[in-house]
């Protein structure tokens, strides 16, 4: 057994798949950043709001005024350098840091695929992705045709984890037996040409989409791994992601996953891709130069491998941390993020904050639009950690205005996956006396229903 493991970690393979992945990833990230900027989202999401929701432990990460643009410039430039393989190690470290900083500035914008990008870029810091077909090789006058097989496999493993865990998360009664939330989302796409008025309205279609989505997520990694089903699987990947892109506003994510899935193919395919890039560059009279070749070896492979092993074990365990909390996960959302739970919930809420002076027995309500953007208010009203953080922010605000003594309560209602709205947070708990922690939040009222499953 140990022999096999050792043999595996000594196995070498062509460096082309990782080089193609690096180029694809870098370019997609550059496009993402440009797109984000051009839509005016930097202002709307990070500069305009007066208040930002922080991740527990990362309260010190905030937008830094107009300097925030600089972070995006840094992020975009480092993505470009990653694609070019120019100062690769520095570039990928800067990309990981700047991108992660952007994501940590406000958890309102949390998306699983942003988290995925942070993880991939973190992993890539330790991979020889610039060993082949990069500008670095021109400067060093040395390139490596072979790299350890596991470095390519680690990317595959991360992709497989994302899909497989997304599939596991779909094994619940709402998704499989109520076709929720697709039953709400699909009929509302009545405006789609050809299929909007009929197919999208069929209950059987909602179930078919739920079940095939679940099966797709669970099995696609294996179909991609197995050579005989690979082309078929890739066709599925393209179809699935393009179809979801048509249905839902999911930005760049589908394209990133399609490009990412190429890593499962044989090096032959990647050499072909590189050849076509070379052909394209020839149009601009950029010709490949002959460079000496060698075999890439890590100076300290054991440290890197065991470090990444820990990384992957954490990745496998983290999505299950919800078992440490009381049910219902979808309702309480303790352990919901960072777990590849994608598109599982239609959740809407309403939170009315009440500022009380206990001595004079007077109170007033808060107009949330005074402090939050509509996007922030929407996210806040369905997530307990947002509600708590906002209550403390309100406490500071009103204390500064001289309102003391002060207590803050919330009257809130949430509707989940087609259920009727019901009270969400205990309206009799002074939120200023509650603090964020990893402990279960005792002041969340229970959901009057069971959602069975993983």
């Amino acid at each position: 057994m140990l022999k096999h493991v050792k043999a595996y970690f000594n196995q070498q393979n062509s460096a082309a798949p990782l080089a193609v992945f690096r180029i694809g990833f870098g370019l997609m990230m550059l496009i993402s950043i440009i797109r984000f900027w051009s839509y005016g989202w930097i202002e709307k999401l990070y500069l305009d709001p007066k208040f930002h929701f922080s991740y527990y432990g990362f309260e010190w990460i905030k937008p830094i005024g107009d300097w925030t643009y600089l972070i995006f410039i840094l992020c975009g430039l480092s993505a470009l350098c990653v694609a070019l393989g120019l100062k690769y190690r520095l570039a990928i470290i800067l990309f990981f840091l700047s991108f992660t900083y952007i994501e940590l500035m406000d958890k309102t914008t949390y998306l699983n695929h942003y988290y995925f990008i942070s993880l991939v870029s973190f992993l890539m810091i330790f991979l020889p992705a610039s060993a082949f077909y990069s500008i670095d090789t021109l400067f060093k006058k040395k390139q490596y045709l072979l790299i350890p097989q596991w470095t390519i496999d680690s990317i595959k493993l991360l992709l497989a984890l994302v899909y497989f865990y997304a599939g596991l998360a779909k094994l619940n009664s709402d998704w499989l037996f109520k076709a929720m939330p697709l039953k709400i989302w699909l009929p509302s796409k009545y405006g789609l040409p050809f299929i909007g008025g009929n197919l999208m309205q069929q209950e059987w279609f909602h179930f078919a989409m739920s079940w095939s989505g679940m099966l797709y997520d669970l099995f696609i990694p294996f179909l991609l791994l197995y050579k005989r089903t690979r082309i078929f699987a890739f066709a599925l990947v393209v179809f699935f992601h393009v179809f979801t892109r048509v249905l839902f506003p999911i930005g760049m994510f589908p394209y990133i996953m399609i490009i990412g899935s190429l890593v499962f193919f044989d090096p032959k395919v990647h050499h072909k891709i590189i050849r076509s890039i070379q052909k394209f560059l020839k149009l601009f009279s950029i010709k490949p130069k002959p460079i000496a070749t060698g075999t890439f070896k890590y100076p300290n492979p054991k440290i890197i491998i065991s470090g990444l092993a820990v990384f992957f074990v954490i990745q496998m365990l983290l999505p299950f941390r919800y078992v440490l909390y009381p049910s219902e996960l979808f309702w309480r959302e303790e352990g919901y993020r960072f777990s590849w739970r994608v598109m599982l919930m239609e959740k809407r809420g309403y939170a009315n904050f009440k500022v009380v002076n206990p001595e004079e027995n007077t109170y007033f309500y808060v107009d949330n639009t005074d402090f939050l953007s509509s996007f922030q208010e929407k996210q806040m009203s369905t997530q307990p950690d947002f509600i708590l953080e906002y209550a403390h922010f309100l406490g500071e605000q009103f204390k500064a205005q001289g309102h003391e003594p002060i207590e803050i309560y919330v009257e809130s209602y949430v509707a989940l996956n087609g259920r009727k709205s019901q009270p969400f947070i205990d309206p009799d708990v002074d939120l200023l006396k509650q603090y964020e922690s990893f402990q279960p939040k005792s002041w969340i009222l229970p959901l009057n229903d069971d959602i069975k499953g993983l």
């Binding site: 999401l45 009929p187 909007g196 069929q202 082309i231 999911i250 239609e346 007033f364 808060v366 509707a415």
Partner: protein, 371 residues
């Protein structure tokens, strides 16, 4: 082998799509999208929105005419007619305030018609300087119905005092000009909005049925909820009752200077909300395609429209118990006022959470990516 499985699957998918589009021609399947959104938009436009603007416009024309009579001859009798015309128009306005789409949105119509409390200082400065741009955002609280409320009721405590305001003072002429400009502007703004609806926007509006951020249903439903929560619930009840401040603010009621008119307006507004939800025609009172019907067409949301309707009825019952003057109500028994607010509030949850979930209408205007 691979090619064959791929081909088989591909044809399978194509087959599935083509089959299902044929299904609907049978007409037996009740799961097809059988709610006629276009008919709902036509009902909103032709039977509610345009008739409301038409009525408002004609009431404002009468108001402008009465204003001319009053300016020519400021007497208590003419003041009485002018006040009546203002009250009639203000009541109709309650049906128009919720529609902030098309030209109304472009020209900031609502904010030039009913921002209160009106700013007496700004009005006086405008009158004295005679140099004002009534369309300026800075003057939003010095124009419209609330400014006329002050000009017709607030400038004196008796009718004679009000008439004196336009006759005896050295500034009398300036005051008449401001009164005249205010009134004319309300009428011309309304005319602009109405004409836009009649000359093309109506067709654009009823044909935009898609569930997108700019689709007519999304725009109007968002406006409707925003109005119910802000223009109706907060402005008419919550703010004067002090639910958003440390103390009650009785001088923030609508038509503060008219004194006994705030309840009349609030009841008109309540009717406007109920009628819109039920698709009731403004003129004939007959029911057409409505939000209630839309909810009823969705599996599992049938009883939601009933809950909303009965919550409206409960709120109306509460409003009926209030004093004709909300300022008086706040001063004497504010608990009744806050209880009314709470009753109105319960429908906000049904509209904003349950209804928007059922219709899958997005509320966030920041068009960010989802997962």
């Amino acid at each position: 082998m691979i090619k064959r499985t791929f081909l088989a699957l591909f044809t399978g998918v194509i087959f599935m799509f083509s089959c299902s589009s044929d299904d609907t021609s049978g007409g037996t399947d009740n799961q097809t999208d059988n709610f006629d959104r276009s008919a709902m938009l036509v009902n909103w436009a032709d039977n509610i929105i345009i008739p409301v603007y038409e009525d408002l416009n004609s009431k404002l024309e009468i108001l402008a005419a009465e204003k001319e009579v009053f300016i020519a001859e400021p007497t208590p009798t003419n003041l009485f007619s002018l006040r009546t015309a203002w009250q009639d128009a203000y009541k109709v306005w309650q049906y128009a305030e919720m529609f902030n789409v098309g030209m109304a949105e472009n020209i900031n119509y609502i904010f030039q018609m009913n921002v209160y409390p009106t700013n007496v200082q700004d009005i006086q400065n405008n009158i004295e300087s005679q140099d004002y741009d009534l369309s300026s955002v800075n003057n939003n609280d010095a124009v419209g119905f609330p400014a006329l409320d002050y000009m017709l009721y607030g400038v004196g405590s008796t009718e004679t005092e009000v008439v004196d305001f336009y006759t005896t003072s050295a500034s009398a002429d300036k005051r008449k000009i401001y009164l005249s400009d205010l009134t004319d502007r309300m009428q011309s703004l309304t005319q602009t909005v109405l004409e836009d609806w009649k000359n093309g926007y109506r067709d654009t509006f009823v044909s935009s049925t898609d569930n997108t951020a700019t689709g007519s249903i999304n725009l109007v439903v968002n406006d409707f909820i925003y109005y119910y929560e802000k223009g109706f619930r907060a402005n008419k009840f919550g703010i004067p009752a002090g639910v958003f401040s440390q103390n009650p603010l009785p001088d923030r009621v609508e038509a503060y200077y008219t004194y006994d008119f705030s309840k009349v307006l609030a009841l008109e507004a309540m009717t406007a909300v109920q009628d819109f939800f039920n698709g009731r025609a403004y003129q004939s009172g007959s029911d057409g395609r409505s939000l209630a019907d839309y909810l009823n067409s969705i599996n599992g949301s049938e009883d939601l429209s009933t809950s909303i309707t009965s919550q409206y009825a409960a709120a109306r019952t509460k409003i009926n118990t209030l004093n004709d003057s909300f300022a008086e109500q706040v001063n004497t028994n504010n608990v009744a006022m806050t209880e009314t607010f709470d009753s109105i509030q319960l429908a906000v949850v049904l509209l904003k959470v349950d209804m928007l979930q059922a219709l899958d209408i997005s509320v966030d205007y920041v068009d960010a990516d989802g997962d």
